[in-house]
């Protein structure tokens, strides 16, 4: 019974994590780009009655309503079946990939130990590569099935780009595989908990800086994000989803963000220690669970308090600007997101300080702490994807191909050979 429950809950949990990242990333994208460009960004949509705008977060809800209620249009020249299948394929390929990413170290509850990832397999990176390589189908089919020239151009360009960069993507990871001697992502994370020269954590970036750079660039190209958004290229051709609208377009849109989130998770797992908290391996976490909990709750309390104060400042300045229900927003948010959590965390802190952790509670605490570390890292890399998009101009198509085949491929091969040589010398 428990086993079946775990079997169902694990994929659902992982799915929930990545689906939650979508609105957060869209919000990052909008608000972040606005602040980068000295604008305010979306701030109009609000929940009626409460006047909550959540700094533009409510626009996501408005988007959902808009996209779902929009007419689902199929152009006359489109190939009907493929036209409908393409967005589904795109989303499915993106959603299959998350299955092997570990969220925390294996959790032991009583006598059972289970891995905190959707599918318990040691295929690791290979699984990710296999299913992310299927993402091309969505682009190709959308381009072909739309029966229109711009999507076709976008599809062809995108396919060529994705095929080219998949090579560098694979090559840049091979160095990591050589060093850690496994493709199992959880195993890789575990190895990264050791220390290098006794000081720095043995993270992939420190062992494979070139590999990391190559992987980062290739990941941008794989997810079709700027500066490699040949697929979309909104200023030249509108891209492979020109003819799409409504829910189908939403699927493409979400697929892009999911792919991005997953690439961020893979980068974190391979190069930044995954769920590892630096200098604190799992055993240490479990031993000092109560201290960890105290630090965690304390950090939450302090952070929430600071956030609440910031929101109060926002409220002071907000209440004079809006003469409608929105003027109460700041104070509601300050209580909801700032002082409420802070008080809860402090309450939790007193409870923790007065009781002794026993049984499998320390294990759960360790897993939660690792999960939080993982989420913070993933969120940071999601932000990097967006940050780069709003900083760099798009490459020209021939530059993309040049970079892929004549710079990144040789560099990747060189990196692989050097890594293999060093590995032979020292191990």
């Amino acid at each position: 019974m428990t086993e079946a429950l775990v079997l169902i809950l694990r994929p659902l949990g992982a799915l929930g994590f990545f689906m939650t990242l979508i609105p957060i990333m869209i919000w990052f994208e909008r608000k972040g780009c606005a602040f980068i460009q000295d604008r305010v960004g979306p701030n109009r949509a609000f929940i009626p009655g409460l006047g909550l705008r959540l700094a533009g977060f409510v626009h996501n809800l408005a988007d959902v309503v808009k996209l779902v209620t929009k007419e689902d249009f199929i152009p006359a020249f489109a190939h009907r079946g493929l036209y409908i299948a393409a967005p589904m394929l795109s989303m499915a390929a993106a959603l299959l990939t998350y299955a092997v990413i570990p969220f925390a170290d294996d959790l032991t509850l009583g006598s059972v130990t289970f891995a905190l990832r959707a599918v318990d397999t040691d295929l690791g990176i290979l699984f990710i590569f296999a299913f992310s390589s299927l993402a091309v189908y969505g682009v190709v089919l959308a381009g072909y099935a739309s029966g229109s020239k711009y999507p076709l151009l976008g599809g062809i360009r995108g396919t060529a780009q994705m095929i080219s960069y998949e090579v560098s993507l694979g090559l840049s990871v091979m160095g990591i595989v050589l060093i850690f001697g496994t493709v199992d992502l959880n195993e890789i994370c575990r190895v990264q908990g050791q220390l290098l020269f006794g000081v720095v954590p043995k993270w992939g970036v420190f062992l494979q800086p070139v590999g990391f750079m190559l992987y980062l660039f290739a990941a941008f190209a794989e997810t079709n994000r700027s500066p490699f958004d040949m697929v979309e290229g909104e200023s030249e051709i509108v891209g492979f989803h020109t003819e799409y609208s409504g829910t189908k377009f939403a699927l493409f849109f979400m697929g892009e963000y999911v792919a991005m989130a997953i690439q961020a998770a893979v980068i974190v797992t391979l190069f930044f220690g995954g769920w590892q908290i630096p200098w604190l391996p799992t055993s240490a976490l479990i031993e000092n669970a109560s201290q960890v909990l105290v630090v965690l709750l304390g950090a939450i309390a302090v952070g929430a308090l600071g956030f609440g104060v910031l929101l109060l400042r926002f409220h002071r300045w907000n209440k004079v600007r809006w003469q409608d229900e929105r003027k109460r927003e700041g104070i509601i948010l300050a209580i909801l997101l700032g002082f409420g959590p802070a008080i809860t965390a402090l309450l939790g802190l007193t409870i923790v300080l007065s009781t002794d952790l026993s049984g499998s509670v320390p294990n759960v605490v360790a897993s939660v702490a690792q999960f939080l570390a993982f989420s913070v890292k993933v969120l940071f890399f999601c932000w990097v994807f967006i940050w780069v998009r709003w900083t760099l101009p798009r490459f020209r198509y021939d530059q993309v191909m040049f970079l892929g085949w004549k710079v990144m491929l040789p560099l990747g091969l060189l990196n692989l050979v050097v890594t293999a040589g060093l590995r032979l010398l020292w191990l």
Binding site: F35, I36, R39, V40, T391
Partner: protein
């Protein structure tokens, strides 16, 4: 602007040191036409991310650019800066001579000052003034407009109508500019609106 020397120098007629005659010209369209001796400042020391070798890698330049963008973001985020105007609630400053929505002037007795001479309608480049004239009782007045409509969607705010009016009956100094409307028809302003729907404290 480029500083040039007198061209007679180039012909080599005199080896004497001449007083430099400085001529300011706009930048030449084709650089080959540029005089040979024009003075530019010494090439600036290249910043570290622009040095040729490093530039090959793109990476330093990318990092510098990312620094700039995150700087803007943090500045706006932490200082809660609002560099833009929240438009409908906060109106931007309108200068006094801004050509805004028209108004029709009134005589002392409150009737319209316009004499329906059609000068403005003739001058209007977009043909958006519709005037229908009629006779009025007052023997002093030859005629007056019965209908005076301006289509705000066609108007280009050129102000020619104001220039054309012989009796200063139309002005564009209300400081009002059209915002959103539900229907196109709402942008057609009739005589009543043009005469009475104007902010106070406008100069007579």
């Amino acid at each position: 602007m480029i500083e040039t020397v007198d061209q007679s120098d180039a012909r080599g007629t005199s080896s004497q040191k001449r007083k430099r005659e400085v001529v300011y010209v706009s930048a030449p369209l084709d650089l080959r036409d540029a005089p040979e001796t024009f003075h530019t400042s010494a090439p600036p020391r290249l910043r570290w991310w622009r040095r040729p070798l490093l530039r090959l890698l793109y990476v330093p330049a990318i990092i510098a650019g990312m620094g700039i963008t995150i700087g803007h973001l943090l500045k706006n985020l932490i200082l809660l800066r609002q560099p833009t105007i929240s438009f409908p609630e906060i109106k931007p400053f309108i200068p006094k001579r801004f050509r805004s929505r028209h108004r029709l002037m009134q005589k002392d007795d409150g009737s319209v000052r316009c004499t329906a001479c059609m000068c403005c309608a003739t001058a209007c480049p977009s043909g958006c003034i519709y005037i229908v004239a009629h006779e009025v009782e007052d023997p002093e007045v030859e005629k007056a407009p019965r209908v005076f409509d301006i289509d705000g969607l066609k108007c280009v705010y050129c102000g020619f109508c104001v220039e054309a009016c012989p009796c200063d009956a139309i002005r564009m100094d209300t400081g009002v500019y059209p915002e959103a409307e539900i229907k196109r028809g709402n942008f057609v302003w009739n005589m009543d609106k043009l005469m009475h729907d104007i902010p106070d404290n406008l100069p007579e």
